[in-house]
Amino acid sequence: MFDTSLIEILKEGLNGGLSSVFGIALIVMPLMIFLEVARDMSLLDLLSKWTRPLTKALGINESSALPLAIGLIFGLAYGAGVIIQSANEGEMDDKSLILVSMFLACCHAVIEDTLLFVPVGANGWLLLGIRLVVAFVITALISKYVNFDAMKDGETECE
Protein backbone atom coordinates (compact mmCIF):
# COMPACT_ATOMS: atom_id res chain seq x y z
CA MET A 1 0.00 0.00 0.00
CA PHE A 2 2.80 2.44 0.85
CA ASP A 3 5.88 3.04 -1.24
CA THR A 4 8.11 3.67 1.81
CA SER A 5 7.82 2.54 5.43
CA LEU A 6 5.06 4.15 7.47
CA ILE A 7 7.54 5.29 10.14
CA GLU A 8 9.54 7.20 7.53
CA ILE A 9 6.36 8.82 6.21
CA LEU A 10 5.19 9.85 9.68
CA LYS A 11 8.63 11.27 10.44
CA GLU A 12 8.50 13.28 7.21
CA GLY A 13 5.05 14.55 8.20
CA LEU A 14 6.10 15.48 11.73
CA ASN A 15 9.19 17.34 10.57
CA GLY A 16 7.26 19.24 7.93
CA GLY A 17 4.49 20.09 10.39
CA LEU A 18 6.92 21.30 13.04
CA SER A 19 8.85 23.53 10.67
CA SER A 20 5.57 25.01 9.35
CA VAL A 21 4.52 25.85 12.90
CA PHE A 22 7.91 27.34 13.68
CA GLY A 23 7.81 29.65 10.65
CA ILE A 24 4.36 30.87 11.63
CA ALA A 25 5.27 31.26 15.32
CA LEU A 26 7.98 33.75 14.34
CA ILE A 27 5.20 35.98 13.02
CA VAL A 28 2.35 35.26 15.42
CA MET A 29 4.31 36.04 18.60
CA PRO A 30 5.38 39.62 17.78
CA LEU A 31 1.99 40.27 16.17
CA MET A 32 0.02 39.32 19.29
CA ILE A 33 2.23 41.54 21.45
CA PHE A 34 1.83 44.39 18.97
CA LEU A 35 -1.96 44.03 18.91
CA GLU A 36 -2.13 44.17 22.71
CA VAL A 37 0.08 47.29 22.74
CA ALA A 38 -2.15 48.87 20.07
CA ARG A 39 -5.22 48.12 22.14
CA ASP A 40 -3.77 49.66 25.30
CA MET A 41 -2.51 52.73 23.46
CA SER A 42 -6.11 53.27 22.31
CA LEU A 43 -5.10 53.30 18.68
CA LEU A 44 -8.70 52.37 17.99
CA ASP A 45 -9.94 55.96 17.84
CA LEU A 46 -7.37 56.56 15.16
CA LEU A 47 -8.41 53.41 13.34
CA SER A 48 -12.08 54.29 13.33
CA LYS A 49 -11.08 57.60 11.77
CA TRP A 50 -9.58 55.55 8.93
CA THR A 51 -12.65 53.40 8.52
CA ARG A 52 -15.01 56.40 8.48
CA PRO A 53 -14.63 56.99 4.71
CA LEU A 54 -15.43 53.29 4.31
CA THR A 55 -18.68 53.63 6.23
CA LYS A 56 -19.62 56.63 4.13
CA ALA A 57 -18.96 54.79 0.87
CA LEU A 58 -20.98 51.81 2.05
CA GLY A 59 -23.91 54.03 2.90
CA ILE A 60 -24.00 53.16 6.60
CA ASN A 61 -23.99 55.37 9.66
CA GLU A 62 -20.88 56.72 11.37
CA SER A 63 -21.18 54.71 14.56
CA SER A 64 -20.41 51.65 12.45
CA ALA A 65 -16.82 52.83 12.04
CA LEU A 66 -15.63 51.45 15.38
CA PRO A 67 -17.04 47.90 15.06
CA LEU A 68 -15.75 47.83 11.49
CA ALA A 69 -12.24 48.86 12.59
CA ILE A 70 -12.16 46.41 15.50
CA GLY A 71 -13.41 43.51 13.39
CA LEU A 72 -10.97 44.24 10.59
CA ILE A 73 -7.98 44.34 12.94
CA PHE A 74 -8.81 42.01 15.83
CA GLY A 75 -11.24 39.54 14.32
CA LEU A 76 -14.85 38.53 13.92
CA ALA A 77 -15.59 37.68 17.55
CA TYR A 78 -14.36 41.07 18.81
CA GLY A 79 -16.14 42.90 15.99
CA ALA A 80 -19.38 41.05 16.68
CA GLY A 81 -19.07 41.89 20.38
CA VAL A 82 -18.84 45.60 19.61
CA ILE A 83 -21.66 45.37 17.06
CA ILE A 84 -23.93 43.78 19.65
CA GLN A 85 -23.09 46.53 22.15
CA SER A 86 -23.71 49.29 19.61
CA ALA A 87 -26.94 47.66 18.49
CA ASN A 88 -28.19 47.40 22.05
CA GLU A 89 -27.48 51.07 22.58
CA GLY A 90 -29.47 51.83 19.45
CA GLU A 91 -26.54 53.41 17.64
CA MET A 92 -26.78 51.29 14.52
CA ASP A 93 -29.77 51.07 12.22
CA ASP A 94 -30.79 47.73 10.68
CA LYS A 95 -29.11 48.40 7.37
CA SER A 96 -25.77 49.26 9.01
CA LEU A 97 -26.04 46.24 11.26
CA ILE A 98 -26.55 43.85 8.36
CA LEU A 99 -23.93 45.41 6.10
CA VAL A 100 -21.21 45.64 8.76
CA SER A 101 -21.86 42.03 9.80
CA MET A 102 -21.70 40.90 6.18
CA PHE A 103 -18.52 42.82 5.50
CA LEU A 104 -16.83 41.50 8.63
CA ALA A 105 -17.99 37.93 8.03
CA CYS A 106 -16.07 38.02 4.75
CA CYS A 107 -13.14 40.14 5.75
CA HIS A 108 -11.80 40.18 9.32
CA ALA A 109 -8.56 39.87 11.30
CA VAL A 110 -6.79 41.00 8.16
CA ILE A 111 -3.36 41.48 9.72
CA GLU A 112 -3.16 38.06 11.34
CA ASP A 113 -4.75 36.14 8.45
CA THR A 114 -2.52 37.82 5.90
CA LEU A 115 0.67 37.27 7.87
CA LEU A 116 -0.20 33.60 8.41
CA PHE A 117 -0.16 33.01 4.67
CA VAL A 118 3.07 34.90 3.97
CA PRO A 119 5.55 32.32 5.37
CA VAL A 120 3.66 29.67 3.39
CA GLY A 121 4.51 31.52 0.17
CA ALA A 122 1.49 33.70 -0.65
CA ASN A 123 1.74 37.29 -1.89
CA GLY A 124 0.64 39.22 1.21
CA TRP A 125 -0.15 42.60 -0.34
CA LEU A 126 -2.19 41.04 -3.09
CA LEU A 127 -4.04 38.89 -0.57
CA LEU A 128 -4.82 41.86 1.67
CA GLY A 129 -5.74 44.11 -1.26
CA ILE A 130 -8.10 41.74 -3.00
CA ARG A 131 -9.78 40.77 0.26
CA LEU A 132 -10.57 44.38 1.13
CA VAL A 133 -11.55 45.42 -2.39
CA VAL A 134 -13.79 42.44 -3.21
CA ALA A 135 -15.54 42.52 0.17
CA PHE A 136 -16.03 46.26 -0.19
CA VAL A 137 -17.36 46.18 -3.76
CA ILE A 138 -19.85 43.42 -3.07
CA THR A 139 -21.06 44.95 0.20
CA ALA A 140 -21.46 48.30 -1.57
CA LEU A 141 -23.52 46.65 -4.31
CA ILE A 142 -25.77 45.04 -1.71
CA SER A 143 -26.08 48.39 0.04
CA LYS A 144 -27.19 50.02 -3.18
CA TYR A 145 -29.50 47.43 -4.69
CA VAL A 146 -30.99 45.45 -1.84
CA ASN A 147 -34.16 46.74 -0.27
CA PHE A 148 -33.46 46.61 3.46
CA ASP A 149 -36.94 47.70 4.49
CA ALA A 150 -38.37 44.71 2.69
CA MET A 151 -35.82 42.45 4.34
CA LYS A 152 -36.68 43.80 7.74
CA ASP A 153 -40.43 43.49 7.20
CA GLY A 154 -39.94 39.87 6.25
CA GLU A 155 -38.14 39.12 9.49
CA THR A 156 -39.94 41.18 12.10
CA GLU A 157 -43.56 42.19 12.03
CA CYS A 158 -44.10 43.94 15.31
CA GLU A 159 -42.34 47.23 14.55
Binding site: M1, F2, D3, T4, L6, I9, L10, E12, G13, L14, G16, G17, L18, S20, V21, I24, A25, V28, M29, P30, L31, M32, I33, F34, L35, E36, V37, R39, D40, M41, L76, A77, A80, I83, I84, A87, L97, I98, S101, M102, L104, A105, C106, C107, D113, T114, L116, F117, V120, G121, A122, N123, L126, L127, I130, R131, V134, A135, I138
Partner: protein
Protein backbone atom coordinates in the same frame (compact mmCIF):
# COMPACT_ATOMS: atom_id res chain seq x y z
CA UNK B 1 -1.93 52.66 28.98
CA UNK B 2 0.86 50.29 28.04
CA UNK B 3 2.28 48.43 31.05
CA UNK B 4 4.22 45.26 31.60
CA UNK B 5 0.84 43.52 31.73
CA UNK B 6 0.18 44.52 28.14
CA UNK B 7 3.31 42.69 27.03
CA UNK B 8 2.51 39.70 29.24
CA UNK B 9 -0.98 39.48 27.77
CA UNK B 10 0.41 39.66 24.24
CA UNK B 11 2.98 36.97 25.03
CA UNK B 12 0.31 34.73 26.52
CA UNK B 13 -1.97 35.21 23.52
CA UNK B 14 0.94 34.46 21.20
CA UNK B 15 1.69 31.20 23.03
CA UNK B 16 -2.00 30.25 23.02
CA UNK B 17 -2.28 30.87 19.30
CA UNK B 18 0.88 28.88 18.55
CA UNK B 19 -0.41 26.01 20.69
CA UNK B 20 -3.81 25.96 18.96
CA UNK B 21 -2.08 26.18 15.60
CA UNK B 22 0.31 23.30 16.38
CA UNK B 23 -2.57 21.06 17.43
CA UNK B 24 -4.14 21.54 14.01
CA UNK B 25 -1.25 22.00 11.59
CA UNK B 26 0.94 19.09 12.69
CA UNK B 27 -1.72 16.31 12.57
CA UNK B 28 -3.08 17.59 9.25
CA UNK B 29 0.36 17.85 7.73
CA UNK B 30 1.02 14.27 8.85
CA UNK B 31 -2.29 12.95 7.54
CA UNK B 32 -1.85 14.57 4.13
CA UNK B 33 1.75 13.33 3.97
CA UNK B 34 0.53 9.77 4.63
CA UNK B 35 -2.23 10.18 2.02
CA UNK B 36 0.37 11.37 -0.47
CA UNK B 37 1.98 7.94 -0.26
CA UNK B 38 -1.34 6.18 -0.98
CA UNK B 39 -3.52 6.28 -4.11
CA UNK B 40 -6.18 8.22 -2.12
CA UNK B 41 -4.80 11.66 -2.92
CA UNK B 42 -4.47 10.83 -6.60
CA UNK B 43 -8.10 9.81 -6.59
CA UNK B 44 -9.18 13.09 -4.98
CA UNK B 45 -7.02 14.94 -7.50
CA UNK B 46 -8.65 13.12 -10.39
CA UNK B 47 -12.20 13.80 -9.20
CA UNK B 48 -11.68 17.49 -8.47
CA UNK B 49 -9.29 18.51 -11.22
CA UNK B 50 -12.01 19.76 -13.65
CA UNK B 51 -13.35 22.22 -11.03
CA UNK B 52 -9.96 23.19 -9.63
CA UNK B 53 -8.66 23.91 -13.12
CA UNK B 54 -10.92 27.00 -13.19
CA UNK B 55 -8.70 28.45 -10.47
CA UNK B 56 -5.45 27.23 -11.99
CA UNK B 57 -5.12 24.69 -9.19
CA UNK B 58 -4.29 20.98 -9.19
CA UNK B 59 -7.12 18.64 -8.15
CA UNK B 60 -5.60 17.73 -4.80
CA UNK B 61 -5.83 21.39 -3.71
CA UNK B 62 -9.53 20.66 -3.11
CA UNK B 63 -8.37 19.19 0.21
CA UNK B 64 -7.03 22.62 1.23
CA UNK B 65 -10.36 24.30 0.48
CA UNK B 66 -12.40 21.68 2.32
CA UNK B 67 -10.15 21.67 5.40
CA UNK B 68 -9.99 25.47 5.49
CA UNK B 69 -13.71 25.88 4.95
CA UNK B 70 -14.78 23.39 7.59
CA UNK B 71 -11.98 23.68 10.15
CA UNK B 72 -9.85 26.83 9.92
CA UNK B 73 -6.96 28.67 8.31
CA UNK B 74 -4.40 26.67 10.28
CA UNK B 75 -5.76 23.41 8.88
CA UNK B 76 -5.59 24.85 5.36
CA UNK B 77 -1.98 25.93 5.95
CA UNK B 78 -1.02 22.46 7.16
CA UNK B 79 -2.43 21.00 3.94
CA UNK B 80 -0.84 23.68 1.70
CA UNK B 81 2.59 23.02 3.19
CA UNK B 82 2.33 19.28 2.67
CA UNK B 83 1.43 19.62 -1.04
CA UNK B 84 3.75 20.86 -3.78
CA UNK B 85 2.31 24.12 -5.12
CA UNK B 86 3.63 27.19 -6.92
CA UNK B 87 3.65 30.66 -5.32
CA UNK B 88 0.76 31.69 -7.57
CA UNK B 89 -1.31 28.66 -6.61
CA UNK B 90 -0.65 29.33 -2.92
CA UNK B 91 -1.80 32.95 -3.35
CA UNK B 92 -5.00 31.79 -5.10
CA UNK B 93 -5.68 29.34 -2.26
CA UNK B 94 -4.85 31.98 0.36
CA UNK B 95 -7.40 34.39 -1.15
CA UNK B 96 -10.10 31.73 -1.37
CA UNK B 97 -9.47 30.50 2.18
CA UNK B 98 -9.35 34.06 3.55
CA UNK B 99 -12.89 34.62 2.32
CA UNK B 100 -14.31 31.25 3.34
CA UNK B 101 -12.77 29.62 6.41
CA UNK B 102 -13.95 28.13 9.67
CA UNK B 103 -17.50 28.47 8.34
CA UNK B 104 -19.20 26.37 11.01
CA UNK B 105 -17.87 28.37 13.97
CA UNK B 106 -17.79 31.80 12.37
CA UNK B 107 -21.29 31.54 10.95
CA UNK B 108 -22.51 30.86 14.48
CA UNK B 109 -20.78 34.08 15.60
CA UNK B 110 -22.26 36.06 12.70
CA UNK B 111 -25.82 34.89 13.24
CA UNK B 112 -25.63 36.15 16.80
CA UNK B 113 -25.56 39.64 15.32
CA UNK B 114 -28.79 38.79 13.52
CA UNK B 115 -27.85 37.99 9.93
CA UNK B 116 -29.13 34.81 8.29
CA UNK B 117 -26.67 31.91 8.25
CA UNK B 118 -27.52 30.93 4.67
CA UNK B 119 -26.88 34.48 3.50
CA UNK B 120 -23.48 34.65 5.24
CA UNK B 121 -22.27 31.27 4.02
CA UNK B 122 -23.52 31.90 0.48
CA UNK B 123 -21.90 35.30 0.39
CA UNK B 124 -18.55 34.02 1.65
CA UNK B 125 -18.47 31.10 -0.79
CA UNK B 126 -19.32 33.51 -3.60
CA UNK B 127 -16.46 35.80 -2.60
CA UNK B 128 -14.06 32.84 -2.41
CA UNK B 129 -14.98 31.76 -5.94
CA UNK B 130 -14.86 35.31 -7.36
CA UNK B 131 -11.58 36.06 -5.55
CA UNK B 132 -9.99 32.80 -6.72
CA UNK B 133 -11.01 33.38 -10.33
CA UNK B 134 -9.74 36.97 -10.32
CA UNK B 135 -6.33 36.12 -8.82
CA UNK B 136 -5.87 33.26 -11.23
CA UNK B 137 -6.57 35.60 -14.13
CA UNK B 138 -4.50 38.59 -13.06
CA UNK B 139 -1.39 36.82 -11.76
Amino acid sequence: MVTINTLKRGFKKGLETIWILSKVIIPIYMIVTVLKHTPALEYVALVFSPVMQLFGLPGEAAIVLVLGGLINIYAAIGAIMSLTLTAKQITVLAVMISFAHNLLVETAVSTRVGVSAKLIVGFRLLLAVVGGLIINLVL
